[in-house]
C-alpha cells in the first residue's frame, strides 16, 4: 500500500490539498459511483473505470454503481452513504488526460459551476439530499480531463492509458479509509 499512499499524496499535492489523510473509518457505508456519458468517448471515463473495477475486484462488501448520466434516479443508492467516491470526466482547466482529485467543499462547488447534462442531475440530487440532511458525509471526486468528447463508445488512447491509474486511485481511497477490496480470483 505504500505506493498507493505516495500516489494519493502526489495527486493531493497536485491539487493543492495539503491536509493530512483522514483516519480509517470502518463504520460508514461506502459507494463508488461512476458517472458520465459513455456515448461521448472520454465523457464516459467514469463508466469505463467502474466496469474495470467491477470486473477485476470483489465487491461483496462495498456498493459500486454505474450511474450513467442519471441524477435523481440515484437517490435510492445514495441514501445512507457516508463516503461517496465519484469517478467522472472533469473539465478543470488541466491539460488533457490529467487526473484530478477533489474532496470536501470543492466537490459541490465544482458541480454547481459545471455545465453538463449529468452533473446538473447529480448536483440537484446532492442539493436536495443536503437539505433533507442525508447527504453523504464525505464526497471525493476522481476525474480525468477529457481529450475528446466526440461521439463514440471508445476512450481516446491518452485517457485509456490512464485508466489503470484511475482504478488505483479509487482503490487507494478505499484502502486508506479502511475499506480495502480484494482482487477477483
Amino acid at each position: 500500500m505504500a505506493k498507493l499512499d505516495e500516489y494519493i499524496e502526489s495527486v493531493r499535492a497536485e491539487n493543492g490539498m495539503k491536509s493530512p489523510l483522514r483516519k480509517p473509518d470502518k463504520a460508514g457505508k461506502v459507494l463508488v459511483l461512476g458517472i458520465g456519458n459513455e456515448l461521448l468517448s472520454d465523457e464516459g471515463i467514469g463508466i469505463h473505470a467502474i466496469r474495470a473495477l467491477a470486473n477485476r475486484y470483489d465487491w461483496a462488501e462495498i456498493e459500486i454503481v454505474d450511474g450513467g448520466t442519471t441524477g435523481m434516479e440515484l437517490l435510492p443508492q445514495l441514501e445512507g452513504v457516508d463516503r461517496l467516491i465519484v469517478v467522472d470526466a472533469v473539465r478543470a482547466g488541466q491539460p488533457p488526460a490529467s487526473i484530478v482529485r477533489l474532496d470536501g467543499d470543492r466537490v459541490p462547488a465544482y458541480f454547481k459551476t459545471k455545465l453538463s447534462p449529468h452533473q446538473v442531475g447529480l448536483s440537484d440530487l446532492l442539493a436536495a439530499m443536503s437539505f433533507k440532511g442525508t447527504a453523504p458525509g464525505h464526497v471525493v471526486l476522481i476525474g480525468v480531463q477529457p481529450v475528446t468528447l466526440s461521439v463514440g463508445l471508445e476512450l481516446s488512447p491518452e485517457v485509456k492509458a490512464r485508466l489503470d491509474e484511475v482504478v488505483n486511485l479509487v482503490l487507494a481511497e478505499l484502502t486508506l479509509n479502511g475499506h480495502p477490496v480484494k482482487m477477483r480470483n
Binding site: 456519458n37 435523481m72 435510492p76 436536495a128
Partner: protein, 569 residues
C-alpha cells in the same frame, strides 16, 4: 426601451438550453430558444445489431433511460411487425407508468417548485397555521403541526449554515412570489416527502428492470424477466406484492400532496392560467398497449388542430401511417445541413450532419431541429395527452381533471377549463392529471399481470428474426414530456439509419422552414419580466414544459458561470 436578456444555461433542467428574449415595456416581444448541444447520437448505432440499439440509446439521457429504451425496441418491433406477449406488455407498461410518476414528481417538486415557492419565506410561517391549512385540503398523515415545525427547524438550520446556495437560481424574495409563508412551508414539507415517494417509484422500475438506473430487462420481442411463482432471482409473487406496496404509497402521495400543491399554486397564481400558451395544435400518441399487436391502448392519443377538441383525429395503432407520414424535420434555423438542399426530411430519410455557425437571430441558432406534423409545429406533452383524453371522453383523465377542479374550488372560486391547460400553470395541472392517470394505469397493469400469470401464461418474449433486404419501423411512445418517436431503417439485419424525434425537440425547436415558432417561443411572447436581471417569469414558463435537452448531446462551452446577461439595445 428594448432590452435583450440571455439566459444561458437555463438551470434546473436536464441538458443545455439557452433562451434569448427581447423585453419591451416590461413584456417579452421576441424569443429564441436554442439547444446548445449537438445531437449526433443517432450515428453511434449505425451498422449495429438492431437488438442492441436500446441498451446504447438508454444512455442518451439521464432522465429518460426507460423511455428511450422502450421507443427503441418498439421501433425495431414495428419494422419486423413482431408481436409482444401480453406479460411483456404489462411489465413494460408498469415500468413506463412508474417512471412517469417518478419523473412528474421530480419535475414538480425538485425542479420547478422553486419558481413558485419562496423557501426563505417559509421560515416566517406559523407552523400551526400551515398544518391547519394543509389538513383542511387532504387527510395526508404527514401534514401535522409537528411535521411543519420540524420542517421549519430543518430549513432554518439549512439557511443558517449558509447552504441555500446549493439550489441554483432560486429567486427568493422576488416580487413575483405570492404564496403566504404558511403555504410555502407546506410546499417545503412536501418537497422533502416527495423525495421519499419518488424513491418508491424508482424501486418499481429497478425491481422490474433488474437493475437501476439502467434497466436490463428489455428485449426486442418482449422482456427478459422470467416469471415464476416459486423461484428466487426471477419475478416472483413476493416481489410483485412488494411492488404493490410501492404503488399504494405513490397513490397516497399523489392524491394528498401533489394534487393539493398544484391546486394551491393555481389558486394563488391565477394570472398564470392565462399566460404562457404554447402552440395551439396538439399531438400525442396512444400508449400502454393491452394487446400483443399494439392496436388497443389504455390511453388515447392523436392530433387536435387549433385546440378544437371536436376536430380530434386519433392515432389508432403503433406504426399508424397517419403519424409516420406526417412527421418531418427541418434545419433552416438549426446547425445542420442536408445533402439535397434544406427542405424537411421524414425521419426515416433523416440526416445528422452538423453545420455550426454563430448564433444568428435570423439564420441558424440552435442544435435542435424543427419537427412539424403535416407542415406545422405541434405542442406535445401532458397538455396534449390530457386534451386527447378529454376529446375521447377517457374516464380516468376526465375524473382526475374534475377532482383537480374540486380542490381548486375549495381554495378559490376558479376552475381550470380544458382550454386553460395550455398555459404556464395549466401545464403543471395537466402534468398532475397525467401522473394520476399513470398511477391508475400502473395499478391496473399490476392486476392484469397477476391475472394473466394466474391463467398459467408465463410467456414474456417472442424471438425476432431479421429478413434480408430493407425494412423500416417507428417506435412511438407517450413519454412523460410527450410524444417520442424513434425511427429505424434496417438493412440485412443491421441498422442503416436511425433518428430520434424527442419531445423537447417539438417544444424547444427553432423556427420551422416556414418560420413558424415552436412552443417555448410562442409561450414566452407577452410574458412580463419585472426585473431583467432576475427573469423569474420567463423561467416559470420555460420550466413548465419540463425541458429535457440531454438527448441533444455534446458540450460546446463548459466553463461559464454567468447565467443571465442583460443588454440594452
Amino acid at each position: 426601451m428594448t432590452t435583450r436578456i440571455t439566459i444561458d444555461p437555463v438551470t434546473r433542467i436536464e441538458g443545455h438550453l439557452r433562451i434569448d428574449v427581447e423585453v419591451e415595456n416590461g413584456r417579452i416581444t421576441k424569443s429564441w430558444a436554442s439547444g446548445q448541444m449537438w445531437r449526433g447520437i443517432e450515428k453511434i448505432v449505425l451498422d449495429r445489431d438492431p437488438r442492441d440499439a436500446w441498451t446504447i440509446l438508454q444512455r442518451v439521457c439521464g432522465v429518460c433511460t426507460v423511455v428511450h429504451a422502450m421507443a427503441s425496441v418498439r421501433a425495431v418491433e414495428d419494422a419486423l411487425k413482431l408481436e409482444v406477449p401480453l406479460n411483456a406488455q404489462y411489465i413494460r407498461n408498469m415500468m413506463m407508468t412508474a417512471h412517469a410518476v417518478q419523473d412528474h414528481i421530480v419535475h414538480f417538486y425538485q425542479l420547478s417548485a422553486l419558481d413558485w415557492v419562496d423557501v426563505v419565506s417559509a421560515t416566517k410561517a406559523n407552523p400551526a397555521k400551515a398544518a391547519s391549512f394543509a389538513e383542511g385540503l387532504s387527510d395526508w398523515d404527514a401534514n401535522s403541526r409537528a411535521v411543519m415545525a420540524a420542517t421549519q427547524e430543518k430549513l432554518k438550520g439549512f439557511i443558517g449554515s449558509g447552504q441555500l446556495g446549493v439550489f441554483a437560481n432560486g429567486y427568493w424574495g422576488h416580487p413575483a412570489m405570492k404564496l403566504s409563508p404558511e403555504v410555502n412551508l407546506m410546499a417545503v414539507a412536501h418537497y422533502l416527502q416527495a423525495l421519499e415517494v419518488q424513491r418508491s417509484a424508482s424501486k418499481i422500475v429497478a425491481t422490474l428492470g433488474s437493475k437501476t438506473p439502467h434497466i436490463q430487462n428489455l428485449a426486442v420481442g418482449g422482456v427478459s424477466n422470467p416469471i415464476a411463482t416459486d423461484s428466487e432471482g426471477v419475478l416472483t409473487i413476493e416481489r410483485l406484492m412488494q411492488i404493490k406496496e410501492y404503488i399504494d404509497k405513490i397513490g397516497s402521495f399523489l392524491h394528498n400532496c401533489y394534487f393539493v400543491d398544484v391546486a394551491a399554486i393555481a389558486a394563488h397564481y391565477p394570472e398564470w392560467l392565462a399566460m404562457g400558451a404554447g402552440v395551439n395544435d396538439f399531438l400525442s400518441s396512444p400508449d400502454l398497449p393491452l394487446d400483443t399487436k399494439g392496436a388497443k391502448f389504455m390511453t388515447p392519443g392523436g392530433y387536435i388542430p387549433g385546440g378544437n377538441l371536436s376536430a380530434f383525429r386519433a392515432i389508432t395503432k403503433f406504426g399508424d401511417p397517419y403519424l409516420a407520414s406526417g412527421v418531418a424535420e427541418g434545419v433552416k434555423h438549426a446547425w445542420y445541413t442536408y445533402k439535397n438542399g434544406e427542405s424537411e426530411l421524414q425521419p426515416w430519410k433523416g440526416e445528422t450532419t452538423p453545420a455550426y455557425t454563430e448564433f444568428q437571430d435570423n439564420g441558424k441558432y440552435s442544435w435542435v431541429k424543427s419537427p412539424t406534423f403535416y407542415g406545422k409545429p405541434a405542442q406535445v406533452g401532458p397538455v396534449a395527452a390530457v386534451l386527447a383524453g378529454v376529446a375521447t371522453g377517457d374516464k380516468t383523465t376526465v375524473s382526475y381533471l374534475n377532482r383537480l377542479n374540486d380542490k381548486m374550488q375549495a381554495l378559490s372560486a376558479r376552475k381550470i377549463e380544458p382550454s386553460a391547460l395550455n398555459s404556464t400553470v395549466g401545464r403543471h395541472a395537466a402534468r398532475v392529471v397525467r401522473a394520476c392517470v399513470a398511477y391508475e394505469c400502473l395499478k391496473a397493469n399490476w392486476q392484469l399481470l397477476m391475472d394473466n400469470i394466474g391463467t398459467g401464461d408465463m410467456t414474456t418474449f417472442n424471438k425476432p428474426t431479421f429478413p434480408k433486404g430493407e425494412i423500416m419501423g417507428v417506435g412511438q411512445e407517450e413519454a412523460p414530456r410527450g410524444l417520442l418517436s424513434h425511427w429505424v431503417v434496417i438493412k440485412d439485419g443491421r441498422i442503416a439509419n436511425y433518428q430520434a424525434v424527442v419531445p423537447s425537440t417539438w417544444l424547444a425547436a427553432p423556427k420551422s422552414d416556414r418560420d413558424q415558432m415552436a412552443s417555448y417561443d410562442v409561450a414566452l411572447l407577452g410574458t412580463p419580466v419585472a426585473d431583467p436581471a432576475r427573469p423569474l417569469e420567463a423561467l416559470r414558463t420555460v420550466h413548465s414544459f419540463d425541458p429535457c435537452l440531454a438527448c441533444a448531446v455534446h458540450l460546446t462551452d463548459v466553463e461559464r458561470n454567468t447565467d443571465v446577461q442583460v443588454n440594452a439595445l
